[in-house]
Symmetry: C2
Subunit: 388 residues, 2 copies
Amino acid sequence: MQNFFWHNPTALLFGKDTVKDLAAHLKADNVKSVLLVYGGKGIFKSGAYAQVTEMLTQNKISFPEVNDVKPNPLINKVREGVARVKAGGIDAIMPIGGGSVFDTAKAIAAGSCYSGDVWDFFEKKASISKAMPIYGILTASASSSEVNNIAVVSNPDSELKTSITSPFIYPKVSVIDPSFQITLPEKQTIYGGVDIIAHILERVLDGDEGSDLIDEQGYALIRTMMRVIPDLLENPKDYDLRSEYAMAGAMAHNGFLSMGRETRGDFSSHRMGHSISLLFGAAHGASLSVIMPAWARYMSEDNPVPFARLGEAVFDIYDGSDEDKAADAIDALEDFFKDIKAPTTLRELGIKEDDIQKLADNASRGETFGVLGKLEPEDVLEIYRLAY
Amino acid sequence: MQNFFWHNPTALLFGKDTVKDLAAHLKADNVKSVLLVYGGKGIFKSGAYAQVTEMLTQNKISFPEVNDVKPNPLINKVREGVARVKAGGIDAIMPIGGGSVFDTAKAIAAGSCYSGDVWDFFEKKASISKAMPIYGILTASASSSEVNNIAVVSNPDSELKTSITSPFIYPKVSVIDPSFQITLPEKQTIYGGVDIIAHILERVLDGDEGSDLIDEQGYALIRTMMRVIPDLLENPKDYDLRSEYAMAGAMAHNGFLSMGRETRGDFSSHRMGHSISLLFGAAHGASLSVIMPAWARYMSEDNPVPFARLGEAVFDIYDGSDEDKAADAIDALEDFFKDIKAPTTLRELGIKEDDIQKLADNASRGETFGVLGKLEPEDVLEIYRLAY
């Protein structure tokens, strides 16, 4: 097991009606004004917006807004928020939404304490040394953004969807009230679930042989998600299922499953998925259900072992060689994605065969990446072809 | 799933030679003098004392000492530490040791900021509102004290072994270097392992039916421990096994496995075990391997389900009714304890049949306790009889 440093300072208010418990934290920290950050109409439908603004009003906290944050959020929206904070009078950032909204809020929090353009952080031209405090309300689980120090933002001008990571952008307090997720569109339950499973798979499939304990935690979490998602599609209003989904969503990518791993995980599928979202507007989760089985088939040719272990631990596949188990495990994973009505081919996303080279170029950017195996540009092209 | 609040602020330095990384944290917090708290000669044998004092000396941090902390630590040692801190010139508390040493340090940290006698906290006559910062070095995993907000201390005068819990006593930074545990006596590896397993069992066996996700994490962690302990007894110097043991030890009782549970767990076995340690000086882990199977057999008569689920998930027991599975699971648990040479009867601890009433009186103290089922004094007596 490798050395690691762990410090996740985010306080979590989990459960029904916990928005009102946020008031005590805001009061203790003397917050008088927050910048509300949100997306579209979902938070009106779920009641989250009403609950949050009622709590703020009762506590005499003002709340100027930046709204209309899109899925796969854009740097221009971040810039809009930064400008608003720099105009003065804001004590904290308050996202109400899912990962895109939290990511936008984190980038605003960091950009507001920086004299240059916030995109500098994403291009690694500057590093974050300070950020506004973040008090967030989660309304859609998927990215773990509510409990981690990562923000993913897209810049259409440079055709780049990329991330920042900094200890300064952990939310100070996050509210996870699973009842806000009961009104989510079915597609979001599916795609969020795929994203959560992908975050776990990207750890347990990284080839690190010294992380059995964490692998076993990860396998258990995947089994939980594979039980919960189909049940939720049948019973979308089930609060306990929404709770399990939300908790798995928070655990999958908060750093816990990277503890002691040599490389913290292999996020090649996320990188290749980001290109699909950026260039063709695909939902993040849809890009992952398409790319992960293709990546897995390509990688398992030289490295069947992690896929065979996954087969045993998650799909009860015990027969045959490691190669056989790996192939069966990947088929089972793809079948699961199909069962929950997630796409598994680029064609289903409306992408043409002629577009594959463009995807590969965008993902590679002339670089080699990957942990389980290093992916040269020609490997990336081949994986997109397999996903077609 | 029940509502919960989670905020575990402890920063963790995990791995080989991470003591030296503590220096940056002490420097950032302007610590010039620490009260070293430790037990006996173990930390000289493992090299922990030498590494820590070298780091402190190099960084010009002074380190007066309170030592000779015993297993099942005593309130008088806490008072000695409090007196030393109140004498002045100490910025922080630095335990080097296992759970007993960390627990003592936590009680010193709280008692030093209180004008009355520190035992008041344990008798719930006063509540903790402040504590000195704690920077700890773990040398024996078992209690999760290095990453939680609990301290268990004994008072022979009042024949009471009991605990305090407060957000103020989380260590600020804990170092977990598994290599310090390579020189532990075999008994400590066994008893620490039993304690870790008990902390997990006390969650998954509490009868809460709304915590499947966390139960699944707990089952996985028990399987890990049941793989790691026998392997460690064969290969006590294996660093990766020590790492898994240390990480499981930190996860079992840091609050994670209580998330969303109705009652946070059923700690009846710990309470009954504490009486065995207090009155007869038994090692904490030995008291648990004796009491847990007896408690389980007694409880499973009316509540076989949690024990049957444990049988399926941990011992691959799928045949028969829930009653059959529960009985087989408890037999398998007891057999595991026997296999790792942990005692499973009071007789093995040298306790006489005549002492059973005294144990029952000490554990009950005229109260009813328990979560899976309420234990009246006569139930407690019967469980000790079963353990005889």
